[in-house]
């Protein structure tokens, strides 16, 4: 019987706060130690090992040291890019570590006659076959899935793992309904295990032909929403999968590095002063000792400014009461006196989408197509086009022309130009 570990979304370097950064690294160390203790035969990290493609050198160094221990224990680490540590030109930290042999990137393929033929990697010890498609920003990897030669992969014999870093439409949590995703039907069928990443909530599910699709979720927290989920009881960790010629057991291993406390406060029908006083009083009574306290403040103040409920004051109080750190979520806080621009979301596209839709009305234009949902959609489409990268073998002039052409088409100005 063999074993492999499946992690995803470690997001090392996501937390700039020193306490959270320490905990984030502690979670990674703990997970790696568990892999060694459990004597897994290999580790798969399904994207977003790091929060950025060129992360802070301190955290990168700490993570590398830990991975070196795993490597020295004769446990290979297989990875794919996530949407955060992706680099279009092969200059991510993932590539550097791949070049050193510390980790191995299991994504290789080429377009043959319009079909993406992926190379199958074989783990030398277990003979498990590994194939992957990396994540890209804004769900652009969907294009690769659309031209994927699934038949070629489905014919492959042996114990097979498919690693990818994309949300699956059928498995997204409802609050991520607008997140770019791929339908499960784009995955090749018949793999023994689908090692997924990208969605930060744990999910084990399956469909006929895709029996075991597993999202381990974030290892600690890549976003403040993850911290909120942790405080609400979401268990963080990773999977260890036992197998021989088929999967025998899929077991979740919790990685807990601290305790959390969640506190939600509704300011409705209070002015800023009343709300502040009441909130601080209530927060003063919670058990904060050695915990990360997540405070969510929501509702509409009947008067006063939202800034009068000061995050720093709340943090100060909680730290005085022994909290390791306090995370304040004020996105749902508004005041009758003014409306602030809110920016809450999982990733940049979601925030862009929301901001454009919420604020398009503030832009005064006379052209009907530029107003309302239509205008927001046009802006988003345009952003998508402007985000296109230069292809590897594409001349700059061709690149500029291509983007211009797409932008003109999107704006419906073909006849004007």
């Amino acid at each position: 019987m063999f074993k492999f570990a499946h992690l995803g979304d470690c997001h090392i370097g996501a937390n700039r706060d020193p306490v959270l950064e320490k905990l984030e690294l502690a979670a990674f160390r703990k997970a790696m130690d568990l892999c060694v203790q459990e004597k897994v035969d290999f580790v798969i990290i399904a994207g977003d090992l790091f929060h950025a493609n060129l992360p802070d050198m301190y955290v990168a160094n700490e993570a590398v040291k830990k991975m070196k221990e795993v490597k020295d224990a004769d446990i290979p680490i297989y990875v794919i890019y996530g949407s955060h540590d992706y680099s279009p030109n092969g200059t991510s930290i993932i590539d550097i570590l791949d070049s050193t042999g510390l980790i191995e990137k299991i994504v290789k393929g080429e377009d043959i006659d319009g079909k993406l033929k992926l190379e199958v990697f074989t783990d030398p010890k277990t003979k498990a076959k590994l194939v992957g498609i990396s994540g890209r920003k804004a769900g652009l990897e969907k294009n690769f899935f659309e031209i994927l030669d699934r038949e070629h992969l489905e014919k492959e014999q042996g114990f097979k793992i498919f690693a990818f870093h994309s949300a699956i439409s059928e498995l997204k949590p409802d609050f991520l309904a607008q997140m770019e995703s791929i339908p499960v039907s784009l995955l090749p069928k018949g793999f023994d295990y689908y090692a997924s990443g990208h969605v930060h909530r744990r999910n084990e599910s399956g469909f006929p032909g895709h029996e075991r699709i597993v999202f381990p979720g974030a290892l600690f927290a890549g976003y403040s929403r993850d911290l909120e989920d942790n405080a609400k009881g979401e268990k963080r960790g990773f999977y260890i999968v036992s197998f021989d010629d088929k999967v025998e057991e899929v077991k979740f291993h919790e990685v807990s590095v601290c305790e959390f406390e969640y506190f939600e406060y509704d300011v409705s029908n209070k002015n800023s002063m009343q709300a502040k006083k009441d909130l601080l009083e209530k927060l003063g009574r919670i058990e904060a000792e050695d915990k990360i306290v997540v405070v969510k403040i929501r509702g509409e103040l009947s008067g006063g400014k939202t800034s009068e409920i000061s995050s720093s004051e709340i943090k100060e109080l909680l730290k005085e009461n022994g909290a390791l750190e306090a995370v304040i979520n004020r996105f749902g806080l508004t005041s009758k006196e003014y409306v602030s621009i809110k920016a809450m979301g999982e990733d940049i596209p979601t925030i862009e989408n929301r901001l454009l839709r919420e604020n398009i009305g503030a832009v005064k234009v006379s052209i009907e197509e530029l107003k309302g949902d239509k205008g927001a959609k046009l802006a988003l489409d345009l952003l998508k086009i402007l985000r296109q990268e230069q292809k590897l073998n594409e001349a700059k002039k061709d690149y500029v022309e291509r983007v211009q052409k797409h932008a003109i088409n999107t704006l419906g100005l073909e006849d004007e130009v």
Partner: protein, 513 residues
């Protein structure tokens, strides 16, 4: 078509004008004809044909007998075209003034006017509106004119559409043509519950072949094709109200459902399926019956390992959390969503439609109260075998459901129905009256034709024979949004899309691992 005289008005009254057909005038049932008037012209339509003869009946019988019995093979009438002829019964359907004003005729055309077949020019007022939904070409009898018939989709869809016809008359072809014509239009969101899996084009040409399909079409199926979505709905998305009028529950079962929902919220179905104890509030027998019902309707049961399973895979406790939100959002963005329900039981299909339609309806109610409804695309729900939810007996037994609510109140909230049925007579008059566009295809059943004619937007009381004689692909559009009941020829879908199909460009992709 030449502008030749086809006949002359010889008698009649309003709604029943008699025309003597010119020899070779080729007037057919359903033909559109024109009588020129001072200041404009009248468009007329033939609905009945009779023989007329100047020769007494006894003489005609004798002559026929002689010819049949071989006693005078060369015998014939003197100037037969003058003595024997066809009388057409026609009605005036539209008055067109010289300055293009259109009116329902309130006077008879001039006595003894000549009439001619309609020409394309005569129908110049049939223009392409905003948000056009294509229905076909104008048909005069069996002759097809090169005049396209479009209806404003925002108007038509919010005021509901009824497509009555018996099997094989081209209902699904018509709906496919309509959907194709609006697929790229962002102002119209359309949900199609497709019990025969015939719109997407799994096995042939379909909406998937439209150039805008990638951006504007979503397809959900329990048997997904690569690139399309697997139909799966999380049990937590289902509310007790979604069963309203779709599944029958006794009072005791309703009470138990309320109790479980209040106590377990999103997990109410799972709790019932698991038989979670709620004390004496729910009788064990009631709970058992509910478990059986959910098994029958949703296919949900507990397996040996105590996991919730679904026989059809459509409902799940781990997957499908975002499905209804994604569909709702797509519709709100003016996309078209096809749900293949071909592998589902009736109740499961209607329940899924109910979950999505309720979501949309309630959101649009909110938009109306916020004053933002006008900015939103109108939304239409296409439902086959409509009497399953709109039938008088169903509504009487189970009460209103979301579909009947939409039929009655949807217009206010810009949500409409496209109801397809063979049995119009089962739908209550009050609902039929709310369906302001009827695209009537051939129907051999008198009772069904009667039900359609009685509720049509225009007076079709004399068109029984015309409807009965409609061939495959021929239809009559009776709508508040057409100037008169327009006879049309619906193109064959495969033919209609021929020119729009373009070979897909193949660009080499640079794969970045």
């Amino acid at each position: 078509m030449a502008l030749e005289v086809s006949g002359q008005i010889i008698a009649g009254k309003t709604g029943q004008i008699l025309v003597r057909e010119k020899a070779g005038g080729e007037i057919e049932i359903g033909d559109l004809l024109v009588a020129e008037e001072d200041g404009g012209y009248v468009v007329l339509q033939a609905y009945e044909l009779l023989y007329g003869s100047q020769v007494p009946q006894l003489v005609r019988e004798l002559l026929a007998g002689m010819k049949l019995e071989g006693m005078g093979a060369d015998l014939d009438f003197l100037e037969p075209q003058l003595r024997n002829y066809v009388i057409a019964q026609i009605k005036a359907v539209l008055w067109v003034s010289k300055d293009n004003e259109l009116k329902i005729p309130k006077t008879l055309p001039r006595f003894f006017s000549t009439i001619r077949h309609v020409s394309e020019k005569d129908l110049h007022f049939l223009t392409k509106p905003e948000n056009p939904v294509y229905l076909g070409k104008v048909r005069s009898g069996s002759k097809v004119l090169d005049v396209d018939v479009f209806v404003n989709g925002r108007d038509m869809l919010t005021h509901h559409v009824l497509v009555p016809a018996t099997t094989g008359r081209g209902k699904s072809n018509l709906v496919k043509v309509m959907l194709w014509s609006v697929l790229a239009q962002e102002g119209l969101g359309i949900l199609v519950l497709d019990p025969h899996d015939e719109y997407y084009g799994r096995h042939g040409k379909g909406l998937k072949d439209h150039s805008a399909a990638k951006q504007s079409l979503l397809y959900y199926s329990t048997n997904a094709i690569p690139g399309t979505n697997t139909l799966v709905i999380n049990l937590e998305s289902i509310r007790p109200s979604h069963f309203q009028g779709i599944v029958e529950f006794t009072d005791a079962q309703q009470d138990a459902i309320s109790m479980y929902f209040n106590r377990f919220k999103d997990k109410w179905i799972e709790s019932i399926v698991r038989g979670t104890d709620v004390g004496t509030a729910v009788a064990p027998r009631t709970l058992e019956v509910l478990k059986r019902k959910f098994d029958n309707v949703l296919g949900v049961y507990l397996d040996e390992d105590n996991n919730v399973q679904c026989r059809s895979g459509v409902f799940s406790d781990t997957a499908g959390s975002a499905t209804t939100k994604e569909i709702t959002k797509a519709l709100e963005n003016g996309k078209k969503v096809i749900i293949d329900t071909s592998r589902l039981l009736d109740e499961a299909e209607l329940l899924i439609g109910s979950i999505i339609s309720s979501g949309i309806f309630h959101r649009y109610q909110v938009y109306k109260s916020e004053g933002t409804l006008e900015e939103k695309p109108v939304i239409s729900v296409v439902i086959e075998e409509a009497p399953r939810v709109l039938g008088a007996d169903v509504l009487k037994e189970r009460g209103d459901n979301i579909y009947s609510t939409i039929a009655r109140e949807g217009r206010k909230f810009r949500v409409g129905l496209v109801a397809i049925t063979q049995l119009v007579s089962l739908i209550p008059r009050v609902i039929l009256a709310n369906m302001n566009t009827k695209i009537i295809l051939g129907n051999e059943l008198t009772t069904e034709r009667q039900a359609v004619m009685e509720s049509a937007a225009q007076d079709l009381s004399s068109d029984d024979r015309t409807i009965a004689s409609l061939d495959k692909g021929e239809a009559i559009v009776s709508s508040n949004f057409t100037k008169f009941a327009v006879p049309i020829q619906i193109p064959l879908f495969e033919k209609y899309i021929e020119d729009s199909l373009q070979p897909k460009e193949k660009n080499k992709t640079v794969f970045v691992g």
